[in-house]
Symmetry: C2
Subunit: 122 residues, 2 copies
């Protein structure tokens, strides 16, 4: 079986989910981890949410505010933040937008449900 591979800068590939207005992600996953390449339009803002999966957020480019529990973190390129399981969090992109690599472990089941898990499939 061919190695599963993609490029962070390739706008195609993966399972596409719309997470919020101006926030769309492409999903790739194995058995234990899921990678989500999230593109945020300028000033796009997600709603606070939480889930059982552990998450790490990696800022690829752009900037914004990552809210994790009671903390509001200004983040920019190369910043990596840990979001423990069950912790409320959300991201608000800055005026130039942002792209993030989110890592979920285990893979976030809601995203891969055939009905889209409540997220709009493209």
């Amino acid at each position: 079986m061919a190695v599963q591979r993609f490029n962070l800068n390739d706008p195609e590939g993966g399972l596409v989910r719309a997470l919020a207005a101006g926030m769309e992600t492409r999903l790739f996953w194995g058995k234990h981890a899921m990678l989500s390449v999230l593109t945020c339009a300028p000033n796009a803002a997600g709603e606070s949410h939480h889930h059982e999966e552990e998450q790490w957020a990696v800022v690829i480019e752009g900037a914004g505010v990552l809210v994790v529990g009671p903390e509001e973190l200004d983040v920019g390129p190369g910043d990596v933040c840990h979001i423990p399981a069950g912790t409320p969090h959300n991201f608000i992109a800055g005026p130039a937008g942002a792209r993030l690599l989110d890592i979920f472990s285990p893979p976030r089941a809601a995203y891969t449900r055939s009905d889209g898990g409540g997220f709009a499939a493209r």
Copy 2:
């Protein structure tokens, strides 16, 4: 408790392990996933190895050849490859060196053992 955070471009922080000549990594982990920021000197070459943890390799900068099972993959900035559990793999950096973000799930236990798990601690 403060959010665990770091920056991919910060040369400090994390648990340091020397993986091979010219290959040193900084490790950060939660409950289900471990992030490894690997710096490879020009032409540094790891030995083929395998482990029970699933791995994803993300090329931050530079280039090289990632061997996964029978495949030899030329990789460069933004490339992401999946290394399923138990699959032999190794990385050979190109002449300009490389930096990779490796993701392990579950966290790779050998790295966090107090004796360094066979890897030299700094």
